[in-house]
């Protein structure tokens, strides 16, 4: 099967779904599920099968190329799998919503666009797919209207700034080397001057940094994650945002080449060091902001930013260990953040739209599957041993310590300990504690929601105990980029200083867990009691008023709020004011449609192209 057919199915499927929705709801749902499962099958058949094909010859004199290699496959399989799970989940979640045709169409279109991005062998295809993805995402973020529209506009404005940068980069590359084919470029760029490389890296870093929400460029993300429909939030956080990481990988290792990247700058100021520090900042600050959030999805959104920092930190060092950690973490993060979003979605579904952490509680007996998802999800997010998050974080920490960057390691570890606090609050306020009276008879979680949660929960444990499964694929990516492969087996890393063997720990935990559990069982059985039979200093429990949720870490809030508030409020306000200023000015010239913003940008780009063609300054 060739790559064109894959893409044809992906794009065609999106349209097919849309039009079948006009005929019947069931047909559309069936088509969406079948097509997304079909793409999973097709992509998985490409395992270890490198492929390349020319999609279209002579687009503005360039050929559009598709190629499948290990990196592309790794991302492609993740994209289509998560997409399939989210489509299945949507069947139940979106049941009572309007405009479902539009929703499924956009979801599948985004899937196809992402697939095109990872499969594209040249920068033009890359750019076109990137644009399709961005616009479709914008439309889907704004699905809920009102606040969502604001979030969408925030997203698209930043996205367009990113695209603009990328276009500049692509144009300058084209003028310099007369080709946009990635594999050809990687050979030619070695000859370029250091300054040019740095320029290229920075311009692309802005693009991918915006997409991956690296710290100063992250402002679009919290709102977008919070406002979009929850299954799409999952896709957005799981894979779409991580297209930034893919971009970094392609530009750093695929085009510029790691050896030349590492030579850029020296001492304290170098490209990789800066990137690593940005990553570290991206870990620490959002993690602590997440602690202040009261909206379940917003809390996860801030973690989405924070976890992105680990990936950047991993790949910035350009060692095989760090690379493995960074790429593996991309996958792991996708698994648990998708799981967490789906879990929140289930709560939202059952409680008819409540996701305020201050007003829920005690749902774990009512929705055990969603709770399982939430519990394993936060375990992965923290990186509790035996969950997947641990392995990738371990790889990253180890890279940092062995590369003699203890302060970066400190930032990364501190981020983890901040994560514990906020995600524990998440779990506690949603699922544990006292259940409110009105939630005692909530809707059951439908099967279509349970299945993806169970699958992802299983994946968390599986990759946690057998990290060798994905690490072997990642090893082949490492090899493709010219690194020495890691010595991995099924259970972990074998022959590095300080080995990791999850089997040992798994066995130890199982054995001792069995012993402890055995002792627990043979000692006197405990009586099961109601939540109202509880210690309250001798009084009867006040119903609905005996759950500690509001300002869970109140002393800490009081301590930290002044610091976090000042810095970030100022930053936000500045960004917002600048945005307002920009928009106001545009509004003066144009009538105020969203499309006009784009017009403006297109004109600007045309201007840049003109300058480039005339004087070739870039």
């Amino acid at each position: 099967m060739s790559l064109e057919i894959l893409l044809a199915i992906a794009y065609g499927g999106a349209f097919l779904t849309y039009f079948s929705g006009k005929i019947s709801q069931g047909l559309r749902d069936g088509a969406a599920v079948l097509l997304s499962l079909g793409t999973v099958l097709i992509v998985s058949s490409f395992y270890n099968v490198p492929a390349a094909s020319v999609l279209y010859e002579g687009f503005l004199g360039l050929s559009l190329v598709l190629r499948m290699n290990s990196l592309a496959w790794f991302f492609a399989i993740a994209i289509v799998s998560f997409n399939a799970l989210c489509v299945i989940y949507s069947l139940a979640y979106m049941k009572d919503r309007n405009e479902k045709d539009y929703y499924y169409f956009m979801l599948l279109l985004i899937n196809a666009a992402m697939l095109t991005i990872v499969l594209s062998g040249d920068l033009v295809t890359f750019f076109i797919a990137w644009e399709i993805m961005s616009w479709a995402t914008f439309l889907l973020i704004s699905y809920n209207r009102n606040g969502a529209l604001q979030a969408g506009i925030k997203y698209i404005v930043l996205s367009l700034i990113g695209s603009m940068c990328m276009l500049i980069g692509i144009l300058s590359v084209y003028t310099s080397f007369n080709t946009l084919n990635i594999s050809e470029l990687s050979g030619q760029l070695t000859t370029a001057s250091a300054g040019y490389k740095l320029f290229l890296l920075i311009i692309f870093s802005i693009t991918f940094g915006i997409k991956n929400a690296v710290m100063p460029l992250h402002t679009w993300l919290p709102d977008a994650y919070t406002e979009s429909p929850t299954p799409f939030s999952a896709v957005l956080s799981g894979m779409l945002t991580r297209m930034g990481v893919y971009g970094f990988l392609v530009i750093l290792f695929g085009i510029v080449g790691i050896k030349s990247v590492l030579t850029l700058g020296s001492g304290f100021i170098s490209y990789t060091k800066t990137m690593a520090w940005l990553g570290a900042i991206t870990i620490v600050i959002p993690t602590f902001i997440a602690m202040l959030q009261n909206d379940a999805k917003k809390l996860l959104a801030w973690h989405g930013i924070g976890q992105g920092g680990y990936m950047i930190l991993g790949i910035a060092f350009g060692t095989s260990l760090g690379m493995a950690g960074g790429i593996f973490h991309t996958l792991n993060h996708a698994i648990y953040i998708v799981l967490l979003f789906l879990s929140v979605g289930a709560v939202e579904y059952s409680t008819s739209g409540i996701r305020d952490l201050n007003s829920l509680g005690g749902l774990f007996k009512k929705m055990p599957i969603a709770f399982l998802g939430g519990f394993l999800g936060i375990s992965g997010l923290i990186g509790v041993p035996l969950t997947n998050g641990f392995v990738s974080k371990w790889l990253i920490y180890k890279t940092l310590i062995l590369e003699n960057a203890p302060f970066l390691a400190f930032a990364a570890l501190l981020g983890t300990w901040g994560t514990i606090l906020s995600v524990y609050k998440f779990l506690h306020n949603l699922y544990l504690g006292q259940i409110p009276e009105k939630h005692k008879n909530i809707k059951k979680t439908p099967l279509a929601m349970q299945v993806p949660i169970v699958i992802l929960s299983f994946a968390i444990i599986l990759f946690g105990i057998m990290p060798g499964l994905p690490l072997k694929v990642i090893n082949s990516i490492n090899v493709a980029f010219g690194f020495s492969p890691l010595d991995v087996n099924l259970w972990g890393v074998v022959s590095e200083a300080g080995t990791l063997n999850m089997l040992n720990i798994f066995t130890a935990l199982i054995v001792f867990g069995a012993i402890v559990w055995g002792i627990f069982r043979i000692s006197r059985p405990a009586t099961l009691t109601d939540q109202y039979d509880n210690y309250a200093a001798g009084a009867a429990i006040p119903k609905d008023k005996y759950h500690y949720t509001v300002e869970y870490y109140a002393p800490f809030y009081r301590m930290v709020k002044p610091f976090l508030k000042d810095i970030f409020d100022l930053l936000y306000q500045k960004v917002a004011r600048a945005n307002d200023f920009l928009c106001d000015n545009i509004r003066k010239i144009y009538t105020g449609y969203v499309g006009n913003y784009v017009m403006y940008i297109v004109f600007f780009m045309a201007f840049l192209i003109f300058i480039q063609l005339k004087w070739s300054v870039f």
Partner: protein
């Protein structure tokens, strides 16, 4: 060695930990001008708790406490007790993460009990953990950077060759910082915030009774053991005694003696800690955080900077 250690080291830790709990009660009693309970009192308490019929708030309530105890036992396997260790994979990072399982399990269990006192206690516990983790991470990173390894066993072995880490000037600063945060790790008096009985009715364990309480006591004993043992392992050279045992090398006696020396060092550390804790009231949580983020963090940071510059 490994198989022996797998069985022996949790037992040693459990017994020593409970003994330490009893010892600390005895010593504080003497500071109060009292006679105090027998040293084996915690054993009786655990036995009594086991024989009581507790209540449970559901399976997750049970799961939390089991996870907590299991995690702490597995944590002990990573600790070299003298020359005795069972597991050595993942290094100190793994150790740090496993240290989390104990409080995390208690937290899950306490939250499943649906008691706000528990929840407040847990929130305090996590905040305190965050507060002391900051200096602790700096300290451990300084050690790891100095020895350029992440393996705990290698650290102990390298110390055996050179004497105590705390006698080398680079690591004496992190050592001091560790000693400052040790009461916080052990939950001793100025930092006895989590289970402050007079404030939040013993916090996370407010709903624990019977076997749950017994499990918690065992976990607490192990936690106490681990907190002190980590200090002894990283800074006081584990079971070695300035090479005095070299003459006996190769015999079984070395292993046994090393364990004894290790435990003796631990008792010494405990004693000093207890004398500090007897003359302080407990902090408010934000005061504890401010303290921990001030001096210990500063000292640990200086230590890490020095180590990082030298490497």
């Amino acid at each position: 060695m490994n198989i022996v250690a797998l069985i022996v080291s949790p037992l040693i830790a459990l017994i020593t930990g409970l003994f330490f709990l009893g010892l600390s009660r005895k010593i504080s009693a003497r500071i109060h001008w009292r006679y105090g309970p027998p040293v084996y009192q915690p054993f009786i308490d655990v036995m009594r708790a086991f024989s009581q019929k507790s209540i449970t708030h559901g399976n997750f309530f049970d799961f939390g406490i089991i996870l907590s105890l299991t995690g702490t036992i597995v944590l002990v396997l990573f600790l070299p007790i003298g020359g005795l260790w069972a597991l050595n994979t993942g290094g100190l990072i793994m150790f740090l993460y496993l240290m989390l399982l104990g409080p995390f399990g208690i937290a899950l269990s306490g939250a499943a009990a649906a008691n706000p006192n528990s929840s407040i206690g847990i929130s305090r516990n996590f905040l305190l953990a965050l507060a002391y983790e900051v200096p602790l991470l700096l300290i451990l990173l300084a050690v790891m950077t100095d020895y350029n390894t992440i393996s705990l066993v290698e650290i102990v072995e390298k110390q055996a060759a050179t004497g105590m880490a705390i006698s080398s000037w680079r690591l004496v600063i992190p050592g001091i910082a560790y000693f400052l945060i040790l009461p916080a790790i052990l939950g001793l008096r100025p930092f006895e915030i989590t289970g402050a009985v007079q404030e939040i009715a013993s916090g996370p364990i407010a709903e624990f009774g019977g076997k749950h309480m017994a499990f918690y006591t065992l976990q607490h004993a192990l936690q106490t053991f681990v907190g002190i043992a980590l200090f002894v392992d990283i800074f006081l050279g584990g079971g070695t005694l300035f090479g005095l045992l070299n003459s006996l090398a190769g015999t079984v006696w070395v292993d046994i003696l090393e364990i004894f020396i290790f435990l003796l060092k631990m008792v010494l550390v405990l004693f000093i800690g207890l004398f500090v804790n007897a003359v302080y009231p407990r902090f408010r949580i934000e005061q504890a955080m401010q303290y921990l983020w001030k001096w210990p963090t500063l000292i640990a940071f200086v230590g890490l900077v020095i180590v990082a510059i030298i490497n």
